[in-house]
Symmetry: C2
Subunit: 435 residues, 2 copies
């Protein structure tokens, strides 16, 4: 017997219906925000992926050499493809670029709950605009999408942070360049590490003044509002970077003002513990977290102003997020927010005999051509058996082609929920089915 | 600069919109015939693919060894996955199984017009039913789907053939088993080969009586109706297989009767030159051909009653077809049947200044939450520039938030096609936008 590969999923019809519901909701939400869908190849040159994420990522890729000797890989994410497509047309494309994609992504990692080797991800990105209004539009779409599934503030929150502010804080401690990025990588793990382990990491990885850095970081992470962040920095007095801190906090006020105007203030939790390890983020970063159940991340993103340029194209500021299907589906299931995956059927046709079948098939073809969902038994069976199938099918109507009805040029239409029956011609049935 | 791999496509928004239109039409058509969507992994064990198609196919695959040492391949088609999924539940699944899939498939072959290394294919399969009524349902869906795109009998035809009848004819010549299959493979190329080349092939590949076989095959291929086929076999007089020929011709009448009842007789061309090389077909086979332009195949399929059993599951008769996106899209483009890929936008919001922006953003969020497609400028610009963008956006309405309107708790709604304007509140705008 053949098995599906570990970490991959089979989509029997009930699962496929749920998957398609996620896709349709993602798509409708993105389109309501005037984002346009794009897609790219599932297979990409290996160098495109390593150019963004470094060679370390190769160990987690489904990469191989194709029959033409090219180093290729199943894409682990859609962002490098996005950057390439936008970058290639950066000179002529209308800005801002508001694009979304629904991509199957692949990672060779140990399969476990919530982490598969293949999953789907909804990506939305806004390129060509540096203002916090762009970050607000992206965050608005993220929150709006989760709300479109019926989720509310009771079930998730958006944790908002800022790598710029972190780098300014570290600069105040005299840390810049690679040392600052190393410090930030260590701070990223603060939630899960003991202070002792943090200090050891700072020391071992060449970050000087670890104790002060940890003390400052702890204080910043404790800030749970913009006012607290402002007070924290004000309390530090004059410094060489104070003016840039002030300017950055003005951008925070602009972003929060936009989100407030959009009616989203309740969803936002200022939380500087979100650092997002990926080096390519450059400003505001954020993650949507479920506040029920296991408290997992539902989506994450941020500003990445350097990626397009890094891949060799002209500079193009960008902000975006990714939302996977696995955690989202688990949460929607827990919250009983998934729709009934049973297929919709408008009518099941009950056929008296071979003579009536000819008439029934003609009408079936006509109804289907109008997009009406119709099924019937391929084999001639007794009325009782056909009615049983009609009932089990979940059809809204049964269309009955008995000898008498057909002789009269009619059919009997039975409303399966009320049991009411009426004698109609094909025209009349069509009208009822289309209603 | 990074390039897309040869034979793969990029889907910029306009291309993606067309692709999604094909998918949506495929999906709606299959659902109207009460087929349910399924999907499986893009990556499959290599043996699943070779179990169906033999080791020869490996040269055309994107296959590799994964990091766990498994021989894996990007799927070249969805059918082996279908057979596995249905086979694994064959004991309990409700019959007939009516499933469809929209799959990205991969073949490592020389990229050329109409043949890419990655393409999408719409597959529909009906399993668990041997009667010609099942073949009729599948052929009905194939034709109905092409018609759903606006194609008509002027643009395509369905060429219907039968491997059973061919095998009976060959049996009459004393050819059975592997010899018969070899003969059929040679006959499959009859359209493109000279009689001399055919005779040479028969002789070289061990098919005895090549001249008679060629003569008989030529006569059968010349039959362009069921009556002609019947006359051809009647003219051959008594033989050991005559009774089976008669039974088979009765199934032809049943199939054509069904298709006639469905109103599809005009689309059907009896054409025994369709043999379909793949050894796994076992009965009726068919191809949809465009009768305009280059006369390429749009879709093909047939009955394959042995595949599920061959993969190690219980026996399950099956019939199905595949329809690729590349040839179809070319034809629809030639026939000017593709929709305008421009994104739909319900409203573009024109904003007077930062004070008005707060009110506008509140309404935008509200409209979007209702699924209305709304866009606005992220940067504050003059009215003239915003109106220009509104016009270029293709929006149905402009929503104008000027100082006066906002002071009065209103906005101005402009119908972009008629130029008519009216002063409404957010509620009134919502009603107009939803209409």
């Amino acid at each position: 017997m053949f098995q599906t590969l570990p970490g991959f999923r089979e989509f029997y019809p009930e699962d496929c219906a749920i998957r398609n519901y996620l896709f349709a909701t993602w798509r409708a939400s993105a389109q309501s925000f005037a984002f346009q869908e794009f897609d790219g190849p599932l297979l990409e040159p290996l160098e495109l992926i390593t150019a963004k994420s470094g060679d370390e990522i190769v160990g987690q890729l489904f990469n191989f050499e194709d029959k033409g000797g090219r180093g290729v890989t199943l894409r682990p994410e859609l962002t490098p493809t996005l950057a390439r497509l936008v970058g290639a047309k950066a000179g002529s494309i209308k800005r801002p670029v508001k694009w979304f994609g629904i991509a199957e992504n692949f990672r060779y990692e140990k399969p476990q709950k919530g982490r598969l080797r293949s999953h789907y991800q909804f990506n939305a990105d806004l390129l060509g605009e540096t203002s916090p209004a762009a970050d607000a539009e992206i965050i608005g779409l993220l929150i709006g999408t989760l709300c479109a599934f019926g989720l509310t503030r009771e079930q998730f929150v958006l944790r908002l942070s800022d790598r710029d502010l972190w780098l300014l804080l570290l600069e105040q401690q005299g840390l810049t360049g690679d040392t600052a990025l190393t410090a930030l990588n260590i701070i990223d793990k603060m939630e899960r590490e003991t202070p002792e382990a943090m200090l050891k990491a700072f020391s071992e990885r060449g970050v000087p003044g670890g104790e002060t850095v940890l003390e400052q970081a702890t204080a910043l992470v404790a800030c749970d509002s913009l006012e607290a962040v402002e007070a924290f920095f004000a309390g530090k007095g004059e410094s060489a970077v104070a003016e840039r801190v002030t300017a950055r906090l003005a951008q925070w006020r602009e972003l929060l003002g936009h989100l407030d105007a959009m009616g989203l203030a309740d969803f936002i939790r200022v939380d500087l513990s979100i650092v997002r390890g990926l080096a390519y983020y450059t400003g505001f970063v954020f993650e949507a977290f479920q506040t029920v159940g296991k408290g997992r991340a539902l989506a994450g993103g941020g500003r990445y102003d350097h990626l397009v340029e890094k891949l060799g194209y002209q500079s193009m500021p960008a902000v975006g997020f990714g939302m996977g299907d696995v955690t989202l589906r688990d949460l929607l299931e827990d919250c009983k927010l998934l729709p009934d995956p049973k297929p919709e059927l408008d009518a099941y046709v009950v056929i008296g005999g071979e003579a009536e079948r000819v008439v029934a098939l003609r009408d079936v073809a006509r109804f289907r051509a109008q997009g009406i969902k119709v099924d019937y038994g391929l084999k001639q069976q007794g009325f009782g058996k056909q009615f049983k199938t009609a009932g089990a099918s979940g059809a809204r109507f049964a269309l009955i082609y008995g000898q008498e009805e057909v002789a009269a040029g009619k059919l009997k239409l039975r409303d399966m929920s009320s049991g009411e029956e009426e004698l109609v011609d094909a025209e009349g049935a069509l009208a009822r089915l289309s209603a």
